[in-house]
């Protein structure tokens, strides 16, 4: 690796280059990916799509303690009540669950993806491809028992960690995945999730971002949905210094559907970015998307949703709603709901609103005897209701409600 790779590198980029050079064996594809990344650099505010999430600026200031060993015991997950099969990725190291392998489920540590052609312009995806040593692979067969899979991404004071997960849900199978992003201290964590949902399969993904305030996280999920398959995703984020959860869904064949809901609850200086890109490539597919963002203090909520409907994708039915609630004078909401449509016989719509709590509703509740805090909490909970409605598992819904209640206590 020559120094000339980066144009005016930041200290962090210098570290990355050293780390890449120090890797035992990088494949040709990884070297090419690193070169692409070096050319692009970390995305800054001037790059379309990163206007409100400046990784270049945030990583320039990153000073990780680099004290990864200092982490203590890992507390059990609150999702343990669901009896999940628990995977852990701690500072980039994959820990597989112990014990018997459930029927129909295969998993292991596998070679990472060499390239994702449609994401070659995505700087951080390139970096991830270049830097990941081994990936976590999970395959769900048709007769898998209804037991959720839990992946805990824990990054503790590591300067940076790059991981990949590859998952395949076989035809007509059902799978439920819960991913949590955890960890304290400062550091940069990048996860690339490669996902295939085969014909007629149903896949539910739940993402909970609950890291400490100083973490910088970029997670990209690229999912390919086959005929009559369903992709259902619910995300809840309390943000961190910079956090971006990007979901790219390709509806490849007829009858595919996607439901993508997300909620952000942000306080202090936290930032959360939900970016989605749903590509309708075949006729008769359906997408529903709801985003709700609540921000107070100096928090920043970002939502960028895009529906792309290709020429062949007639009879597409896609709707997007994004609502933001600002609870303080210094909070911020940024929305970009986008439609890119090349087929004429489609129904596509999006709506976006932004505002404060309704003074009349607040007054009504106060009049009914609720104190200010309780009234506000009730209204915020109601505001988030639509996202919770998308959670079909009752126990999961309860955990979500508790999390929201916890957040609101501090409100």
């Amino acid at each position: 690796m020559s120094e000339a790779l980066f144009n005016n590198p930041t200290p962090f980029e210098v570290d990355l280059q050293a780390a890449f050079a120090g890797r035992a064996k990088a494949t040709g594809a990884q070297a090419a990916a690193f070169e692409r990344f070096a050319k692009l650099g970390f995305p800054n505010r001037r790059i379309e799509g990163w206007k409100w999430s400046d990784f270049h600026g945030a990583l320039r200031k990153l000073t990780p303690a680099n004290d990864a060993e200092a982490q203590g015991d890992i507390a059990p997950s609150e999702f343990a009540a669901l009896n999940p099969l628990e995977f852990r990725i701690i500072n980039g190291q994959i820990e597989l669950p112990q014990g018997e392998l459930p029927d129909g489920l295969r998993y292991g540590v596998v070679e990472p993806v060499a390239t994702i052609p449609e994401l070659e312009r995505h700087a951080i995806v390139n970096l991830n491809i270049a830097m990941t040593g081994k990936a976590l692979g999970i395959e769900v067969g048709e007769n898998t028992p209804d037991r959720p899979i839990l992946i805990r991404h824990i990054n503790t004071n590591a300067a940076f960690a790059f991981t990949q997960t590859m998952m395949r849900v076989s035809a007509n199978a059902r799978a439920r995945l819960i991913e949590t992003y955890e960890g304290e201290g400062s550091g940069f964590y990048s996860h690339l999730f490669h996902m295939v949902v085969r014909d007629g399969a149903q896949f539910h993904r739940t993402v909970v971002h609950q890291t400490g305030a100083d973490q910088i996280v970029n997670a990209v999920c690229a999912a390919k949905i086959d005929a009559d398959a369903a992709f259902n995703q619910t995300s809840l984020s309390t943000g961190s210094r910079l956090s971006r959860h990007e979901t790219i869904v390709h509806l490849w064949a007829q009858g595919g559907s996607a439901e993508i809901n997300s909620a952000a609850l942000l306080c202090d200086d936290r930032h959360a970015d939900f970016t989605t890109h749903v590509v309708h490539k075949a006729p008769h597919c359906r997408t529903r998307q709801i985003h709700k963002g609540v921000a107070r203090d100096r928090a920043r909520n970002v939502f960028q949703g895009k529906f792309e409907v290709e020429r062949e994708a007639q009879k597409t039915d896609a709707k997007m709603t994004a609502n933001a609630l600002l609870l303080s004078d210094t909070a911020e909401a940024n929305h970009k709901p986008e439609l890119e449509i090349y087929a004429d016989d489609v129904e596509c719509a999006h709506g976006s609103t932004c505002g404060a709590l309704d003074a009349d509703a607040l007054f009504y509740l106060r009049q009914r005897g609720l104190n200010e805090a309780a009234a506000r909490a009730l209204l915020v909970e109601a505001f988030l209701g639509e996202v919770l409605d998308g959670v079909d598992d009752e126990r999961l819904g309860d955990i979500f409600r508790n999390k929201i209640a916890d957040w609101l206590v501090y409100e």
Partner: protein, 514 residues
Amino acid sequence: MVEATYKEGIDKATVAATASLETYKYGFTTDVQSAKPPKGLNEDTVRYISAKKEEPDWLLEWRLVAFRRWLTMEEPTWAMVDYPQIDYQDAYYYSEPASGAKYESIDDVPPEILADFEKLGIPLREAEVLLGVEGAAASAAEARMGEASNADGGGRKVAVDAVFDSVSVATTFKNELAKAGVIFLSFSEAVREHPDLVRKYLGTVVPTSDNFFATLNSAVFSDGTFVYVPEGVKCPMELSTYFRINEANTGQFERTLIIVAPGAYVSYLEGCTAPMRDENQLHAAVVELIIEDDAEIKYSTVQNWYPGDKDGKGGIYNFVTKRADCRGVNAKVSWTQVETGSAITWKYPSCILRGDNSQGEFYSIAITNNHQQADTGTKMIHLGKNTRSRIISKGISAGKSNSTYRGLVSVHRKADNVRNFTQCDSLLIGNECGAHTIPYVEAKNPSAILEHEATTSRLSEDQLFYCRQRGLSEEDAVALLVNGFCKDVLQKLPMEFAVEAQKLVSVSLEGSVG
């Protein structure tokens, strides 16, 4: 004009006017001797233009600063438009009719140019300018070409500044406007006659460093319009500028600067056409509006540059920066645009709502057919308290065209009680076109109420069937439904433009069905 047979009872003029609109009827060229600097763009070109216009030193310096800045800038690529690399050295940056810039009286204007504007329906002769609103003429253009009607018969007057390639050839009604204290001049004249005003306001809304195309304009802008409406004056007539590109290989870079002093009002219309040529021609204009306390500007555009032929050959590249600065309290600006022409449109008329209680409006119809590409929208930047904005955008795509709405609504920290409503509807006609919506919403104040909605659909089968059943041809039915789709915006146009715009809407979609 085509021979037309017509049913009894239908006004002959209506038939003729409609027939004449069937194709791009402004595609003729006029044979005028012209003076041009050598092809290409360098500091000498800038000096040439400035010298030609006998500009003061500060303006030349201003241009040169812009030019040097431009050399360091990169052409923006974020818009959803696709065109071959423009060779900025392969064009003329200035062209004026050889007989000199401005004419003392309308009688001195060469007959070819007068005839050209006459063909366009532009009322340069003041006697012919009187426009009977309720008249039986089929279109505004028709009416303007018609016989002069009684001056005091309730007809509305429109003062016109006609810009032919790089120079303003005539400005009408100057004396009458002067009586009211309104300054309505070509830009070059304004620089000579009111240098202090020009210097005070030029570049204060769109600075020379604003963006690639605006900076280019700042360096080489040729002519344009200057309007100053003094305090408390309601401009007695509509003002209008007509832009015409005639020369081949010429770019047009005009600059419009409108200032309305406290309590003043003006309604301004803008139209444009160009000959049909196989090569692409560049048009990069800058429009700056300055609105003081309690003042109002209504700015309407019917943009009908040559869009290229049905295979996408030729046409104007229209890269325009338009911005209004509501500096005073209760200031109001309203942009209404009908975009039917241009091979490529890149245009975002914006409102900076700086004064408290100021209001910005944006009403737009963008129609693309064949291979046209339009990336257009607005920016509403709310800086003042209680500022309000409203965006209604109707995009219609047909043929193999692509139309994009791109808009920003931004609310700053100190802007309390902001209200915005945005509605973007897109209509697709045929299955080879694209319609896109890219709104940006940035809210930094919790008291803001921002709403945005967008839909994309095609013409309703039921409605089409209903119209067909009532005896309308398919094309007429489509035209009727599209006009209905655009109604919210068409209603906002001044009468003179509304009739023409309505026809234009139907004409632009010719050949898109069946």
